[in-house]
Symmetry: C2
């Protein structure tokens, strides 16, 4: 009645009960679920993120784990590491939540030069690492169904990416959970001291206009569920509404025992390809008409806890 | 410093200061903002939604306004109207929030036949109104940039839609804010007694597998910001976490003075076309590289309050 197992029911297997159904069985065979495919994955298909690229951001509701993307934005990754190590973010806040767009954090007093927190030894401006030259050595796995915004899309170096072979460049796409670098009007004004996470329909028009410095591996459910701000663009109108970031640390700076034990499925693995295909053509009793297509931003890279 | 006006800054106009810049001015002219375009719209470009299609759902944080879509799902619209008028939803709950997917509401005891609320005179099953035959008389406004999932996309009868001319059918797309009808495995098991709103990246693989019975005109910021549920698929594990729906009414059943005074921009209007074009090619000091493209689910149909 409730359809509790309705909307994304995929666990009920279709058991053919008559000859005709049996004859059709190979075609009607339910597609495996991501869970089933992941259970059969091999250890070598998983990567352990480099602790030097893992940022832990402590919010009242829990920990957010961000993986930096030095393969795409090396100077931003380095600057964010510096800011984290000098405790720049500790005590700052989520300052903005705009529905169907972004959650942004940083210094609420950042606009006020007298009161703004100092960046320490971090740089105040950085080169605009919005795209990179196509890296022939990277493990680009192209998706087959095209894209509205770019000539090609797929996954490379663990990130959802788009690329333009004619222009010779590629860039991480602003998909759900992408972490971008807020900036002023000038392209070089982003330092990484204020970051945003995408919380709605992928605003792909940001691609190539802002630097994607990482993506959220864990904790999106906190960043996406804060009350939307009352000011234009979702800034909080009342300081009391802001959510305080108690502490931000780099995994590499913690003893190994205190680090998150997580692994990320390699995007050039057979299991990842199988998950993409199962999602493109989901066949089970519930989904009677498989889409046969997939958008790059409809695929989440699996993350798992290990013991 | 804070980039408070950074991420989506569009209000700063580029004033050319030298001859060369002046010569380039037509090309570099900033695109108008949606706000500017809406300010110049004519009254005839707006429609007043039919009160018989407007559902007001009262949540603790505020009112959600849903426009039903009888042009697409007539039997579902009729059944939902019956459920609303017989107070089926009053006192029920938001029962499920799955991050980057859906917020679903209905009867928490719906799975328990003994305890489930009765549907009154509403039907328990409905024909699967997942698509309709292409309506040559509708005001389909096609978008120019294609789509990953369907041969054509655009707007018709006020909704973001996709269509397949070869198959001869069209359907509302599962974009952010779309309201769908939860169901069991059988295609006819949806009644409208449990509904969901899309709160993340458009899960377009739901298209043609579920009925889109409406879309949210106001109040998405409440539906999108509830804590995500702890059970699989985002169902709340603790009853106390559920959000109570105090009352659901049809606008048509309220005195005119108590109805929301809202208008919706017609999707076949010049102003809507101009907004789409400005979003496709956003040119201002902040966006240095216009996307030149737009996905159907990246366009929100403007809604305004009138006096």
């Amino acid at each position: 009645m409730l359809r509790r197992h309705g909307l994304v029911a995929a666990l009920v297997l279709a058991l053919p009960l008559c000859g005709a159904a049996l004859a059709d069985a190979p075609k009607a065979r339910p597609s495996p679920t991501a869970k089933e495919l992941l259970a059969k994955s091999s250890p070598g298909e998983w990567r352990t993120p480099d602790p030097a690229n893992l940022v832990y951001m402590q919010l009242p509701q829990g920990r957010v784990v961000i993986e930096l993307a030095p393969a795409w934005t090396p100077e931003h990754a380095a600057n964010i590491r510096t800011l984290v190590r000098e405790h720049y973010f500790d005590g700052l806040s989520v300052i903005r939540v705009q529905d169907n767009f972004v959650t942004q954090w940083g210094d609420p007093d950042g606009d006020d030069k007298a009161r703004a927190r100092k960046l320490g030894t971090a740089k105040e401006t950085l080169p605009p690492e919005f795209t990179r030259k196509i890296d022939a050595k990277s493990t680009f796995t192209r998706l087959p169904d095209g894209d509205v915004y770019a000539p090609e899309v797929g996954f490379a170096d663990g990130f959802a990416v788009a690329r333009d072979p004619k222009a010779g460049n590629e860039w991480p796409a602003h998909c759900y959970g992408a972490v971008g670098v807020a900036r002023d009007v000038g392209a070089e004004t982003g330092s990484g001291s204020s970051l945003y996470a995408i919380i709605g329909q992928a605003p792909r028009n940001l691609d190539r206009n802002l630097a994607v410095a990482g993506h959220v591996l864990e904790g999106m459910q906190y960043l996406s569920a804060y009350p939307r701000g009352g000011e234009p663009m979702g800034f909080y109108d009342k300081p009391a509404d802001r959510v305080t970031i108690s502490k931000v640390v780099l995994a590499a700076d913690l003893p190994a025992a205190e680090r998150e034990k997580i692994e990320v499925l390699k995007t050039d693995s057979k299991t990842f390809a199988a998950i993409v295909e199962a999602k493109r053509n989901r066949r089970d009793d519930f989904y009677t008409l498989p889409a046969g297509k997939i958008d790059v931003c409809n695929i989440s890279v699996p993350v798992r806890q290990v013991k």
